[in-house]
């Protein structure tokens, strides 16, 4: 593992060994539940989780990734580690997912800054090493760009919907894709989120710590907002599975994707009430609007015409298609699994 300096742990707290860190500082979890000074860190941790549940990024006390005082640094790391403890005690996966994503975005900012750092070579080296260690992506610096092997790039970029991430819209040369520091870290956002997520999932769940009850109760309450009732039945085509996946992770699905998903499920005779909860995790969810839109698509309001699911060809141009061999010879996702292969 990489050895980190004090301010680096504050920037990338997920790289630290939580138990070891507390031990090194001479604290136990129990002390955080009782000591009034330390309890502030628990409040901070709660805030950190709540902010992430809102889809926002927690504002850190670090300025430009540096802190003026050692205790500020420490508090940063504590609040992260304690947030994990709270999440484990709450036991809600949706909150963990949101927290991981938000923390990934926060770290992303620092990674980007470190990659772009031209005065301090060691900062850049560290960022490159983190990316290599965690995600086995070998980045090299070439003039103003970072270059990564095309095959490496593709395994990440295929998860993006925006057309600018398509290989055709990239500077490609001699087996490499050229990226700015910003694009480099954007490319691994999801993996960074997954990494943090799996670290939390794999962490041991402690038994309830006296003094943490309030915060945990608040989070349990908060998590009720996000419970979804999945509507997965039958074998769906990859485009539909992917759309459901994106929504369940609380990520943004473009309008065209929502249209595809809704029309597909409506054609499969799912009711508006069954479908609506799928969109609950979307960052811009509004129940009334969603129900209205679904009814519109179904033709029960307004125009009265039922909209049909777009063709595979159309979906391809919208980058919503993730065809697999079973998709050969079909023209519409609705035919998936119904036609024989030739």
């Amino acid at each position: 593992m990489i050895t980190l300096g004090k301010d680096e742990i504050a920037k990338y707290p997920f790289l630290a060994d939580a138990g070891q860190y507390l031990k090194d500082k001479g604290f136990t979890l129990q002390q955080f539940g009782t000591d009034p000074d330390l309890k502030l860190s628990v409040e901070k941790a709660l805030d950190r989780v709540q902010v992430s549940a809102d889809g926002k990024i927690y504002k850190s006390d670090l300025i430009d990734g540096e802190a003026s005082k050692d205790y500020v640094l420490e508090r940063e790391v504590f609040s992260f580690l304690l947030a994990i403890v709270l999440l484990k005690l709450t036991g809600m996966n949706t909150l963990i997912k949101r927290f991981s994503l938000a923390e990934a975005r926060r770290a992303e900012k620092y990674l980007e800054k470190d990659l772009a750092n031209i005065t301090d070579e060691s900062k850049k080296e560290l960022a490159i090493r983190i990316i290599d260690d965690l995600f086995s992506i070998q980045i090299k610096k070439l003039d103003d760009y970072f270059i990564i092997p095309i095959s490496n790039y593709l395994t990440h970029s295929i998860n993006f919907h925006e057309r600018e991430w398509k290989l055709i819209n990239r500077h490609v040369e001699n087996g490499y894709v050229f990226l700015t520091p910003h694009e480099t870290v954007r490319l691994i956002r999801k993996e960074l989120g997954n990494y943090i997520n799996s670290k939390i999932i794999n962490a041991k769940t402690p038994s309830m710590i006296p003094g943490f009850e309030d915060q945990v109760a608040k989070l349990v309450n908060l998590s009720k907002k996000f419970v979804t009732h999945s509507v997965t039945t039958g074998e769906y085509p990859p485009c539909i599975k992917h759309a459901i996946d994106v929504l369940e992770k609380g990520e943004n699905l473009p309008h065209s994707g929502r249209f595809m998903l809704a029309t597909f499920l409506l054609s499969r005779n799912q009711s508006v009430e069954q479908i609506a909860p799928l969109f609950k995790n979307a960052p811009d969810y509004n129940e009334k609007v969603t129900l209205y839109q679904l009814n519109h698509l179904k033709g029960t309001s307004g125009s009265g015409t039922q909209y049909s699911c777009p063709s595979c060809e159309k979906l391809k141009t919208q980058n919503l298609c993730f065809a697999i061999p079973e998709c050969n010879n079909i023209f519409n996702p609705l035919q998936f699994g119904k036609k024989e292969r030739k």
Binding site: R163, K166, I168
Partner: protein, 373 residues
């Protein structure tokens, strides 16, 4: 195809396989490949694993297949079912077929055969004889088709080497045995990528999904200096050459592009995809579980062999891939189009009984344009 024709083709194919073992080899890492074959008028047998050339030759002699296939993928257990095979990696493969190139010459050498009354005529939408619309189209590709396909191979190789960083000696080109070429890429960084990643490579190679911003155009206030230059690598350079034509015209054309606006620019990009994109069959490249025609084997659509092209420029499929024997045979030919094999002209034939060498008879019988009575 009826008994007699099948028997004739099986005998000719068998003789080829017996006489030309030297041309048919198992690929490297044989035991990790899946093999499959088809017999005349019957279905596909897959999930076969072979150890070496000897086992392959035995399979050929025992089954006399019409077509033989081998996976581009490598598996731990190639003979198990798809789910249990344990996919490891796959060579990158490309299929370039002249019938996908929308060539003007095609209508001159395509014939339609009526499924109701067997009438063969030049290309049309319904049968001239019985007015049925149940027609089969058969093409006898011409030199123009072959040259156009070769040109696509050239474009593909250029992108593979310049953009994708593939070394030339890892690119192998084969004539497919019918209307086009198969291109294999070995030992590249792309061995282990999946179907979705390959689909992105396909779009790149075909020049599909490009957005105006990539080539300097913006919705608001496009900046002249962000348009591509002639010296640019990759698609920007190819775009410049195609769109600007010459350096002296660059500035004038950029002004035109800006005046025409964003959505016209987008449309231009779509048309460009047919001009500068390489026309490959996307499904072949995306499929990582495919079994692909085995080099050296015969193609039952023509009776020609799939052969390695040492020198693409001079390669002539109609002499270099025709290996069936010269024994004469009498057939009834309905082949209204002239064709050339081994530098000899045949046809046109309009239902007459003729005596021709086996290789020419097989060519017509494979295309369902001749019978043995």
């Amino acid at each position: 195809m009826k008994e007699k024709e099948i028997k004739f083709l099986e005998e000719s194919f068998k003789k080829y396989y017996f006489d030309h073992f030297d041309l048919i080899h198992v690929p490297e890492r044989t035991s990790e490949r899946e093999f499959g074959y088809q017999k005349f008028n019957s279905g596909m047998t897959r999930h076969i694993s072979l150890k070496d050339d000897k086992e392959l030759h035995l399979l050929l002699m025992q089954n006399i297949p019409s077509d033989v296939y081998c996976s581009n993928a490598y598996y731990s257990f190639p003979n198990l079912s798809m789910k249990e095979k344990d996919w490891k990696e796959a060579d990158l493969i490309f299929d370039i077929d002249s019938k996908d190139l929308h060539l003007g010459c095609r209508k001159n050498h395509c014939v339609t055969k009526c499924n109701e009354c067997n009438q063969v005529t030049h290309l049309s939408d319904f049968c001239q004889n019985c007015k049925s619309s149940k027609l089969e189209t058969k093409s006898l590709p011409c030199n123009n088709c072959i040259d156009a396909s070769k040109n696509e191979v050239k474009k593909l190789k250029n992108i593979l080497m310049e953009d994708l960083g593939v070394e030339e000696n890892n690119i192998h080109v084969y004539f497919s045995g019918n209307e086009g070429f198969h291109v294999y890429v070995y030992n590249s960084q792309f061995q282990e990528i999946g179907s979705r990643e390959r689909s992105e490579l396909v779009d790149y190679i075909m020049f599909k999904g490009a957005i105006p911003e990539t080539f300097g155009m913006k919705k608001m206030k496009p900046n002249r200096s962000s348009f591509p230059n002639f010296e640019d690598k990759g698609w920007k350079g190819r775009f410049s050459k195609e769109v600007f034509g010459s350096k002296s015209k660059r500035s004038k054309i950029i002004s035109e592009l800006i005046t025409n606006g964003y959505s016209n620019f987008q449309k231009n990009l779509e048309t460009l995809s047919f001009k500068i994109g390489t026309q490959i069959d996307p499904n072949v490249t995306m499929d990582i579980h495919r079994i692909f025609r085995l080099p050296g084997s015969l193609n039952s659509k023509s009776g020609l062999a799939k052969v390695f092209c040492k020198d693409l420029k001079t390669f002539d499929p109609y002499t270099e891939s025709s290996f069936l024997n010269e024994n004469s045979i009498e057939i009834t030919a309905h082949c209204p189009i002239e064709f050339k094999l081994r530098k000899k002209k045949f046809g046109p034939y309009n239902g007459e009984r003729i005596t021709v060498p086996t290789y020419a008879a097989a060519y017509m019988i494979c295309k369902n344009l001749a019978t043995i009575d």
